[in-house]
Subunit: 581 residues, 2 copies
């Protein structure tokens, strides 16, 4: 492969641009557990457009009513820059393309580009389609010519290309030849089963690239479409590019059937930053992490924290020596500057934390804690004690900030818990049972004592409701707070039901989200801690910034930015008060 | 790389065996959010041993008390086959290895093999360690010679190898030369920052492999240690193997710092099935999917359903035509036979009833249910309703067996719950609080009504204790039962504290372990379901086999095997009674 890099006709440093082809909306949506509404599809398409992806595969018009409607809506308010493509298969055996009803909704979608897939593997033609090899060539030819006659441009997806080429290279090339002669502008070689390895992709794409030179200019360019069944979707796509492919098909976050498609959030930076192939404008590349997270929000799948480049942990550092080295010289422990893909360095506070970790972490909250400040030592001691008890602040930055403020004597007290009382009753057995949970809570706000009670689906929900009820008259902002996520983990699961429970609660005020933590052998107490800290943090932000009642749905990243800003302002004030800097 | 495949001296079809080196317990544990108890580490080590991995990196003795204890425990009950290695760094600059306190706990761990890491990158030596290039060479030499003088064998991990080699190849090779001359038997080239791409790994490993030939036999062999920051950890490791490396370092499920390490669950099948390098015995390869899931349960991270080879969706098929094609000719849509890695084909049923799914599931429990048996339909209906409510039986086979027995009218009733009542009180705030949980339970055993009450650390523990108390006089065997694991997962975390909770409880009678399940919006009810089914299943086994009171700690695999045997016996009896077969 090293040698292959020099095959491109363009000189070193001027590699040809790679056309990114996104199929999140079609192949990505094949992922088990992923279901997209039309609204979801439109939001994703606009976001991909903003990212600067030139091709967006929108779906198969006619395969389901949703896709038809999606293309109609896009015709009314078109994308600014990207070409949207309609996906479909060749006509059926023994039919005529011009009379094939299946192709009509595809034309009706009104796209300039149509992505047509056809069979490359003789086995699929004979056992899958149950037709002859010659008829398959006619299907490719006829369908492309028909679409061309209607003024459309064609990307030809050669399905099962690599398996087909390995089984019968001559026939596989005949299918491509049919596509070339009928007027396809792109030939995308698909590793549909995802079983091919990089060295095979490199060799086969090289062979096709060479074969293609026999056709007169302007000849079609090659594309690559890979799946991750061997864990090498990204490496396969890169091997194809090194062998001459100039279009890369993939999905955001690698969504897709089975093990997923090639992850564009990995491929784009690999190609552009590391190999020097221009893909998208550098300023747009800086929105990559944001785009990845936005799309995971829209499809309602937890973001992969460990995803290359864009994951929350991709530039996270643990361990004392390591952390101080990163501070001194980032490239010693970071393969790229995280800012180029819109991500950022994170210092993880863990049980390996030394004082330097805590100081660096504090700095990320805008607090220049001094190594010799007694508050720093106090914070470290407290942190170590809490971590010993099972607290982990990695995912609970709001709780960590409250802890820092406490060490600095600046944690506001909005309310004080006097106690709570929970009562669960369960009658009967199996399907034939009834149950009831009741919570009573007593809190002090200033000098006032409030007693509130509430019922709920379970003890934690009842307690949460009672607490809000108690505080609402004093802090009306609480009406806008809600829990957007609730996670429970058993820390020492070997201890059975006496095990410690770690609860993470994500709260939201509609504009911002923050995460708090609770730990206890009693799940109700752990939940209570996390829920109250969530309310406390929300109230703290309310007081630190002008009240803004933002309703409706808000972009997560705008929200994160806003939270960051609020934090910076609040902490700048805090620093000033405490005399830091 | 295609060409490189032919460089190995062994003839085609007889590729050299690859030594798998697992670092789940050390580098894997660096993953953010992953915390292992000693018990977890022991369970994982034994499972890796059973998988047939020859090297298991256990941790850094002395870096924390947990690792010291882990090695002690392994000395008492050693692994059957794998070599456990102790990990540590070279001595500090300006010291003498023999007098370096840091190295003593490493020797005390008593392992035959020590994995020593040292610096390869001049920048790390000068800015990280802040010493001279010569002193770094002395540190490598001195530390290896000292360990060798104590009779230990050395795997030398060349940290930041690829960045170091690119920056200053001559110096990087000098560090390896120091390791070779001091007696290292393996040189593992580490892509510590994970930024290197496959073509670079291939080229650099080839260069090192050639360079290494200057040393007389027996010369050290090469290893490769990759990270996934460019999404190419697996491809990088394969490129290194194709270039002459014969040891591959990685982790189960790709756990590891930042974006993780090379995923052994992908690499082993790629190397063994696709490239023909023997790694582990084929029969052990068939336990790979199980091993992956077992370890994700132990570390309490949701398994990655989309992981290559071992993920739940890796061989999942959607859509009618596709499914019938797979049925006719699996290789048209599957890159390998899923059984070779212990996985199975899944037909994803969207809305249509999957009677065949249920029959296949039942078969996996040894029950040949007939398609026309009304019990099959009843089981299917019940199963669908439960799955809709959030039940997942994959990890709760005991609950699934109870369900099957219920459908077959063969579920014994040891007790009936009339109801329970739970009371939690919490007084005060923060560190200065007290709390109390009390459970009262009413159960019927035959005609007798028993009322029992108990206190506990939390509501679930109180309920568990009360239930045992109520049943103990009737079923003394319960005294031997204990909960060996307790896991909580939120199903629909977006629903906040009203989300549904799935509880998995693993019970043990000292000889066997079995897992049961409960689901409810109320965590106490979900726990109650899982705990009672656990007792029920244990009692059922007691009546189905001669009583054997085995105390002490038992190997999980022996226990699994024993459980399997008990199940087979019980189900053979059941089948006979029901007239199956």
């Amino acid at each position: 492969m090293v040698e292959q890099r020099d095959r491109h006709p363009t000189p070193e440093g001027q590699r040809p641009p790679i056309h990114i082809y996104d199929t999140t909306l079609r192949d990505g949506a094949q992922r088990e557990g992923l279901a997209l509404s039309i609204e979801d599809k439109l939001r994703i398409a606009r976001r991909l457009d903003a990212l600067g992806v030139p091709f967006i595969e929108g779906g198969w018009p006619g395969a389901n009513p949703k896709d038809v409607q999606f293309f109609w809506q896009l015709k009314e308010t078109p994308l600014t820059q990207a070409s949207i493509t309609a996906f479909c298969s060749t006509r059926r055996p023994g039919k005529v393309a011009a009379e094939e009803p299946m192709l009509q909704p595809v034309l009706a979608a009104g796209t300039e580009w149509i992505t047509l897939f056809g069979k490359s593997w003789d086995l699929h033609v004979t056992t899958g389609l149950q037709t002859t090899l010659a008829e398959n060539l006619a299907m490719i030819d006829d369908t492309i010519r028909y679409f061309r006659s209607q003024g459309r441009r064609i990307i030809y997806d050669a399905e099962h290309w690599f398996d087909g080429y390995k089984a019968n290279p001559d026939y596989a090339l005949e299918t491509l030849e049919a596509a070339v002669n009928a007027g396809a502008e792109w030939l995308a070689l698909c590793d549909t089963n995802g079983g091919t390895l990089p060295h095979e992709v490199g060799a086969i794409v090289t062979a096709v690239h060479t074969w293609l030179q026999q056709f007169p200019e302007p000849r079609p360019q090659l594309g690559i479409h890979t799946h991750n069944d061997s864990g090498t979707a990204v490496a396969n796509a890169m091997a194809a590019v090194e062998a001459g492919a100039t279009m890369v098909q993939g999905t955001i976050n690698g969504y897709g059937e089975r093990c997923g498609n090639a992850n564009l959030c990995t491929l784009i930076p690999n190609l552009q930053i590391k190999l020097g192939y221009p893909c998208i404008a550098p300023a747009r590349l800086e929105t990559l992490a944001e785009t990845s997270r936005f799309i995971s929000e829209v499809v309602n799948l937890a973001p992969d924290d460990h995803a290359p480049y864009v994951g929350r942990s991709a530039f996270a550092h643990k361990g004392g020596i390591h952390v101080s080295a990163v501070e001194r010289e980032p490239k010693t422990y970071e393969h790229i500057d995280p800012a180029t893909v819109g991500n950022s360095r994170r210092i993880v506070v863990s049980d390996q934390a030394g004082l330097s970790n805590v100081l660096v972490k504090a700095r990320s909250f805008g607090l220049e804690l001094d190594r010799h400040n007694p508050a720093s030592r106090q914070l470290l001691t407290r942190l170590k004690a809490l971590e010993h008890e099972g607290y982990q602040f990695e995912a609970a930055e709001a709780s960590f900030e409250l802890l820092m403020r406490e060490a600095l004597g600046d944690r506001p007290r909005f309310f004080d818990l006097k106690g709570f009382y929970i009562n669960c009753q369960h009658q009967g057995n199996g399907d034939d049972h009834s149950s009831q949970s009741l919570a009573t809570i007593k809190v002090m706000v200033g000098e006032e004592e409030i007693l509130a009670a509430a019922e709920g689906n379970g003890p934690v929900a009842a307690l949460d409701t009672a607490l809000r009820k108690a505080l609402l008259t004093f802090y009306p902002a609480i009406a806008n707070f809600h829990l957007s996520d609730y996670k429970v983990r058993i820390i020492d699961s070997g201890a059975g039901t006496a095990a410690k429970t770690r609860v993470l609660v994500e709260s939201s005020n509609g504009a911002q989200r923050w995460t708090t933590l609770g730990v206890s052998t009693n799940i109700i107490e752990a939940s209570y801690q996390a829920v109250t800290e969530g309310l406390e943090y929300g109230l703290m932000m309310e007081t630190a910034r002008p009240h803004c009642a933002i309703g409706g749905e808000i972009d997560r990243f705008d929200a994160d930015m806003a939270l960051q800003k609020t934090r910076e302002t609040a902490l700048a004030k805090l620093k000033q008060e405490l005399g830091f800097e």
